[in-house]
Structure formats: structure tokens, C-alpha cells
């Protein structure tokens, strides 16, 4: 599904990703963990080219993202992304947030788009908020709308960039619940998170990153119970 080879990313002189190689299979849920500054968010953002890559290749479904001939907008429509800060459009209602890309990018008519949006809102349990503006929602509700908005494009992969980090503790659960449901439905997911419980329960594989490298990757139980590298051990001892 996704194949990353020798991915490098620098911001000026600062090399954030040094040599990333990773494969993500269809229907797999990959959780990326690591200390802050390890490059995990940057890695995720390179997967839909929100962050231009410096070197290396990212293939999604056999299409090379960094190829200049590729229509990047078309590709991005197939890769959903959920942000730490939700990034809902504040001037649009909840349902308009979801229908806007369906209408402008997928070129659906308004009626179909609204039907689709309502189905998705029902799925994330927020149908009654369809006509509310984002500012009136709680953090957890905002993030569920953001997930619904991404799903509206019917993506092949969903990327989650610390989706629960900006939430009050009591709202983390409702967002993770939606993500878990998605995983059960067979969505391919890459999740950057600090929620180790989620990684254990839902993740098929955990990638531990540090200082721009993938240090270690394994099944959750293996990685958490029997880390092979010193840096993984040190990190886990701090967070678990």
C-alpha cells in the first residue's frame, strides 16, 4: 500500500528525517511512537506531501508521490489526514466542512454530498451537530468531525497526526473509539500517537522513531514487552 524508501527531510540545515524505510500493508494499522523531535510527525506529513520531501521516494498504491507528473491533489484526496489541532474550517458548519471537499474535489452534487456527510456524522455519533459551527463543539467532537471529513473523500489510507494530544483527558476515549471502529472495518491507518494503550490494543505494528531514524519496529506486544534497542527501552520506561 505505502512504500517509503530512503526518505530524507531537512528544514534548512536541520535534518529531521535521515533515512526512513518503511512498508505499510493494506488494512494494516501502524502506530508510530517516539520522543518529541524524533521526526514522527514529519514522517507522517511526508506521506501525503503536505511536507515536501528532500530526498527518497514515497509510493502509494504503486504511484510515486514525488514524481512531478503525478497529480498530487488527486493523490491527496485518497489519503485522509487528521491533525492534532483538528483544523476544521471555522466559517463552515459541521456538515459544510464535510461536504466542501466532496463537492469541490470529487465533484458530487450537493444532495449526494449531504447524504454522504450525514451518514458519516451518524457513524461518528454527531448527526445532531450537523448545522452547528465548529467553535460550539468540544475538542473530542471537533476531532470526530475532522475524521468524518477525511472519510468523506473515501480515502484508501488514513493518517493520524497525534489526534488526541490536544484533547482534554476525558475526550480522548471517544476519538480513540472512532479510530478503533475504523480499524475494525479494515481501514489502512498510520497513527502517530502517545496513546500506548491504543497502540497495544489496535495496532498491528508499532514503529519506534528517534532522531530521524526508525530504530525499531515490531508487533505491539513484542515491542512493548521486549524492546531490543536501548533507546526504545529508555523511551518506554518513561512513558509506560
Amino acid at each position: 500500500m505505502i512504500s517509503v524508501k530512503h526518505l530524507k527531510k531537512s528544514f534548512g540545515d536541520l535534518e529531521v528525517l535521515k533515512d526512513i524505510n518503511a512498508d505499510i500493508n493494506q488494512k494494516e494499522v501502524v502506530v508510530v511512537i517516539g520522543p518529541s523531535g524524533s521526526g514522527k510527525s514529519t514522517f507522517l506529513r511526508c506521506l501525503n506531501l503536505i511536507e515536501p520531501v528532500t530526498d527518497g521516494t514515497v509510493m502509494i498504491d504503486g504511484v510515486e508521490l514525488t514524481d512531478k507528473k503525478v497529480d498530487i491533489n488527486k493523490l491527496r484526496a485518497e489519503v485522509g489526514m487528521v491533525f492534532q489541532q483538528f483544523n476544521l474550517f471555522p466559517h463552515k458548519t459541521v456538515i459544510e466542512n464535510i461536504t466542501l471537499p466532496i463537492i469541490t474535489v470529487k465533484k458530487w452534487n450537493k444532495t449526494d454530498a449531504e447524504q454522504k456527510a450525514k451518514d458519516l456524522l451518524k457513524k461518528v455519533g454527531l448527526l445532531e451537530k450537523a448545522n452547528a459551527y465548529p467553535e460550539s463543539l468540544s475538542g473530542g467532537q471537533k476531532q470526530r468531525v475532522a475524521i468524518a471529513r477525511a472519510l468523506g473523500m473515501e480515502p484508501k489510507v488514513m493518517l493520524f497526526d497525534e489526534p488526541t494530544s490536544a484533547l482534554d483527558p476525558e475526550m480522548v476515549g471517544e476519538v480513540l473509539e472512532v479510530m478503533k471502529q475504523l480499524a475494525e472495518e479494515g481501514m489502512t491507518m498510520v497513527v502517530v500517537t502517545h496513546e500506548m494503550g491504543f497502540a497495544k490494543e489496535v495496532g498491528d505494528r508499532v514503529i519506534f522513531m528517534d532522531e530521524g531514524y526508525i530504530v525499531e519496529e515490531n508487533e505491539p506486544n513484542q515491542l512493548f514487552d521486549d524492546p531490543q534497542h536501548q533507546r526504545t527501552k529508555a523511551f518506554l520506561s518513561k512513558v509506560l
Binding site: V79, G80, M81, N87, H91, P101, V105, M153
Partner: protein, 218 residues
């Protein structure tokens, strides 16, 4: 002190005529300033230096030189050489439009750049292209944020149109000067002119406050 209301009464029709022209020139200046300013803002935000540079200097020149100097330049030099001839009103409208376009451009640019970059990222991540992101996500939010400073700019523009009197455009202040010249009185005509400007700017302020509420500016 005797206050000669008869001068005001006599000149009242001219003051109203002048007010009409003041409003007309200001409205043209505002509309053209907004249209031009929008494109200048986009130009100034271009990632390419050679595209950006002319816009940067356009703004530098128009903000960095006195409006009265610009008015003289356009009225006596630029417009006559381009069009062959010009009228005072045309010169004022052109100068006000260009001058306000520079300020409006900066207002729009500040508005656009104040939008959190997560907005554009989210829109792009959904597959929207640059134009769609601009049109549906960034511009509506930037416009809303631009309303208060734009209002400020419009009030300044309205008052600055009085410089037109310097090239004999027959706007409000022109008639004040005419009345003053005819009767050799200073209080009555200029107080009257000031009062009319005050009524105009207060009405505009009221209108802008209404718009801010309408668009729910925070």
C-alpha cells in the same frame, strides 16, 4: 461674534453637490482600491522574487510618498502624458484608487497570513487545489478579519478625498474654499465643511459596525 448663517444657506446646494462628489470619488476609490489591492496582495505573496518585487515597490511608493504629491504627479504629469488630458475628478479618483490599493493590499495580505497554516494544510490534505483552498478556505476567513482595518482605511480615504480641492475638483472642501473666498469669512464655511465630513464619517462608521456584526467579526 456674529455667525452668518446666510452664507451657509446660500452655499448649501453647493455643499450638497460637493458632498455628492466626495461620496462618488470615495466609493470609486474604495471599490477600485479593493479590486486592485486584492491582486497586489496576491502578487506580493508570490514565492518568486521577480514577481514579488514590482508589487513590493508599488506599495513602497504609494505608501511612502504623500498623497498630495501623488495627486499632483498624476494630475499634472502622469495622466496628461497617458491620456492627453485629464479632469480634476478623474485625477482624484485614479490617485485615490491607486493609493488605497496599496493600503488595502497590505490589509488583505495581513488577513491572509493571519490564517493558521493548518487551514491550508487540511484543505490540501483533502485534495483541494491551490485555487480551491484560496477561494473556499482562506479568502472567506481573511475577508472577515479584514473588515475592521478596511473600515478604518475607508474612513481615511473619505477624508483624504478633500485633497482634491488642491487641484480644483469640485468636492466638499472646494466649495468651502469658494465660500470663504467670496465672503472673506473663515468660520462659517469651514465649520460647515467639517460638519458634513463628520456626518459622512460617522455614517460610514455606523455602516461598518453593522457589517462587523453581520459578518460576526471577532
Amino acid at each position: 461674534m456674529d455667525f452668518r448663517f446666510d452664507i451657509i444657506v446660500e452655499y448649501f446646494p453647493f455643499f450638497m453637490e460637493g458632498m455628492g462628489l466626495t461620496i462618488l470619488m470615495s466609493v470609486v476609490g474604495v471599490i477600485m482600491g479593493c479590486i486592485l489591492g486584492f491582486f497586489i496582495a496576491l502578487g506580493k505573496m508570490s514565492p518568486f522574487v521577480f514577481v514579488r518585487l514590482p508589487f513590493v515597490w508599488y506599495i513602497n511608493f504609494l505608501r511612502g510618498t504623500p498623497l498630495l504629491v501623488q495627486l499632483f504627479l498624476f494630475h499634472y504629469a502622469v495622466l496628461p502624458s497617458i491620456l492627453g488630458s485629464t479632469t480634476p475628478v478623474l485625477s482624484v479618483m485614479v490617485t485615490l484608487s491607486l493609493n488605497s490599493s496599496a493600503y488595502v493590499a497590505e490589509i488583505f495580505r495581513a488577513g491572509l497570513q493571519s490564517i493558521d497554516k493548518g487551514q491550508a494544510e487540511a484543505a490540501h490534505s483533502l485534495g483541494m487545489n491551490k485555487i480551491q483552498v484560496m477561494r473556499h478556505v482562506l479568502l472567506p476567513q481573511a475577508f472577515k478579519r479584514s473588515i475592521p482595518p478596511l473600515g478604518n482605511e475607508f474612513i481615511v480615504l473619505l477624508k483624504d478625498s478633500s485633497l482634491g480641492a488642491m487641484i480644483a475638483a469640485q468636492e466638499l472642501l472646494y466649495w468651502g474654499r469658494a465660500a470663504s473666498g467670496q465672503y472673506l469669512r473663515v468660520w462659517e464655511p469651514y465649520l460647515m465643511v467639517a460638519l458634513v465630513y463628520l456626518v459622512l464619517t460617522l455614517s460610514l462608521t455606523y455602516l461598518l459596525n453593522y457589517m462587523e456584526r453581520r459578518f460576526d467579526v471577532k
